[in-house]
């Protein structure tokens, strides 16, 4: 194996180790936070502060009986949960997680895939995540699942447009799709959320819809659709959807943090260009992602769910025009030399 391949595998292993732990940790955070918001104790029996609750949950998922509905479309039904994880675990490859460092005399760039088209690769891979939802809903042969997945496909397309246009506005002053250049630009200027506050708000709202989180969790909507697209899924298959949701949240948070809040960098602080700097960069990025995830949880337990037509109206008539307005503003400001 060539050293380049080893470096890529090592970097992906770091990312994977982080991502695989997102769902259990967020499971605990979500339940404790919602309990706090609703003024009740929440899960506090397993271990100190209920910290081992995710372990108990994981064991429960693994040992539950695995039921497949007899009327289900078998191949698609089995494939859907696995496919849900795929975009979630691959979009991360274009996110830089530290400064350029030197390890054992070799220059290493701390991102798994250092490609010209980084942002586009992220958007392309995350746009595929809708298929697992659609497959799950169709294959379950259940009307609630089908309704959930029809909603999912319409919702994801609508909000992806606004999200993509908001992201493009960030790219204009930077002049590169590579996220490492986006971070470098923000270190030289200011964090992007200041000049592009409209674009950031559009991105924030659209990312809630993209990850199917309340107030936009219409594909699940447990008060009307039982559990939406994953009604017929139990045991470990349900756990995979669960994990995909949290990993997608982490991936979109990482993109948002990298685009608008300086990624792995901190203002006025220069990390050393060695392994220590790499670790510090990774920790900074993780701390920022953690704050974003906390906001996701906070908003979920604060806002009521939107009605479906309100969701569509917001996407097409408010967010999309705002995103285009932001694009034009940023382009004009760049042309005038203000950015």
């Amino acid at each position: 194996m060539s050293p380049e391949l080893i470096a890529i595998l090592a970097k992906y292993a770091v990312m994977f180790a982080v991502l695989i732990n997102v769902a259990p940790i967020m499971n605990w955070v979500e339940r404790r936070a919602c309990a706090y918001i609703q003024d009740r104790p929440g899960p506090n029996r397993v271990g100190p502060l209920g910290l081992f609750q995710p372990v108990a949950d994981a064991l429960k998922f693994m040992f539950k009986e695995d039921v497949t509905p007899s009327a289900a479309d078998k191949p698609l039904y089995l494939m859907a949960p696995a496919l849900a994880l795929l975009p979630a675990f691959t979009t991360f490859v274009v996110i830089p997680f530290g400064p350029d460092i030197t390890v054992a005399g070799r220059a290493v760039r701390l991102m798994v895939a250092d490609v010209d088209t980084g942002v586009l690769v992220f958007l392309a891979l995350s746009s595929l995540s809708v298929y697992s939802l659609v497959m799950a809903g169709y294959a379950s042969n259940n009307k609630f699942s089908l309704l959930g997945s029809i909603r999912a496909s319409a919702q994801l397309i609508s909000y992806e447009l606004a999200l993509t246009i908001a992201v493009l506005a960030v790219i204009i002053p930077v002049g590169s799709f590579n996220l490492a250049d986006v971070v470098a630009y923000q270190r030289a200027h200011v964090w992007n959320f200041l000049p592009q506050i409209i674009g950031f708000l559009v991105f924030l709202i659209a990312s809630f819809a993209e990850t199917n989180r309340l107030p936009f969790d219409l594909p699940e909507a447990e008060s009307e659709l039982v559990a939406g697209f994953h009604t017929e899924y139990g045991s470990m298959r349900f756990a995979l959807f669960f994990q995909a949701e949290y990993t997608n949240m982490a991936a979109l948070s990482a993109l948002g943090v990298t685009l608008y809040f300086g990624g792995w960098s901190l203002p006025w602080i220069e990390f050393p260009h060695n392994l220590l700097g790499g670790v510090l960069g990774l920790l900074t990025l993780l701390a920022k992602i953690g704050i974003c995830m906390a906001v996701f949880v906070w908003i979920r337990w604060t806002f009521p769910r939107f009605r479906y037509d309100q969701l569509m109206r917001l996407g097409w008539k408010v967010l999309l025009p705002l995103a285009i307005l932001n694009l034009i503003l940023v382009a004009a400001m760049t042309l005038a030399g203000w950015l």
Binding site: T117, A124, L128, V134, I150, S153, F177, R313
Partner: protein, 209 residues
């Protein structure tokens, strides 16, 4: 390494393309189409055009085919009806299309001598030169394509509106039905968003019984 990836995804593209046209279930056909588009996107990346590959997935696999699936699921088409026996208009059109495609491929091979006469270089497909070419040398074709798309969008909107309805009301209450042309025989009467003339009589009859 590259040869293995090429062989894998070329085979995948071909097999899934065959599944698209032969599978009885439209949902499986559509999902196979996603696989075809994804595999060809990988081939674009191998050819040194990651931009085209990413756009292919983003636009086609990520948006347009989702709309196909959306319509198929909304209409709840379970199985394709039996194909017409013998040579219909569809067969002749398919043969004509294939002949034109083969003719174009032949013309390219004949003109250039060999398929790899002018290989793409990383410089020629990098983003900045590509954008510069698009907005200077090929500006007119680019704008014409944009205009064509705009006309198509307006045409679809006009075709989707109810007869006699003012254009300004489109999309006020119906976000879903706007995707299908009004004249589609499959939808007349069966779509709750577009009540046909016969429907009030039917529903009052049902209430009476």
């Amino acid at each position: 390494m590259e040869t293995v990836i090429f062989a894998l995804f070329a085979a995948l593209a071909l097999v899934s393309a065959i599944v698209v046209v032969t599978h009885k279930s439209p949902v499986y056909s559509t999902l196979a189409l996603v696989l075809t588009l994804f595999s060809t996107a990988v081939l674009y990346v191998l050819l040194g055009a990651p931009f085209v590959g990413a756009l292919q997935i983003l636009v086609y696999a990520g948006a347009i085919v989702v709309l196909f699936l959306f319509v198929i699921m909304l209409l709840n088409i379970q199985k394709e009806e039996e194909a017409h026996a013998g040579f219909g208009a569809q067969t002749w059109t398919a043969i004509l299309g294939a002949a034109i495609f083969l003719g174009m491929m032949g013309l390219i091979f004949w003109r250039s001598g060999s398929p790899a006469a002018a290989p793409l270089t990383p410089e020629s497909v990098a983003l900045k030169p590509l954008a510069a070419q698009l907005f200077t040398t090929y500006l007119l074709p680019f704008e014409i394509v944009g205009l064509l798309l705009l006309v198509a969008v307006i045409g679809a909107t006009v075709a989707a509106r109810k007869p006699g309805e003012e254009l300004g009301h489109i999309g006020e209450h119906e976000y879903v039905s706007g995707e299908e042309p009004r004249t589609d025989p499959l939808k007349s009467g069966s779509d709750p968003h577009q009540p046909s003339v016969a429907e009030p009589a039917y529903s009052s009859q049902r209430e009476a019984s």
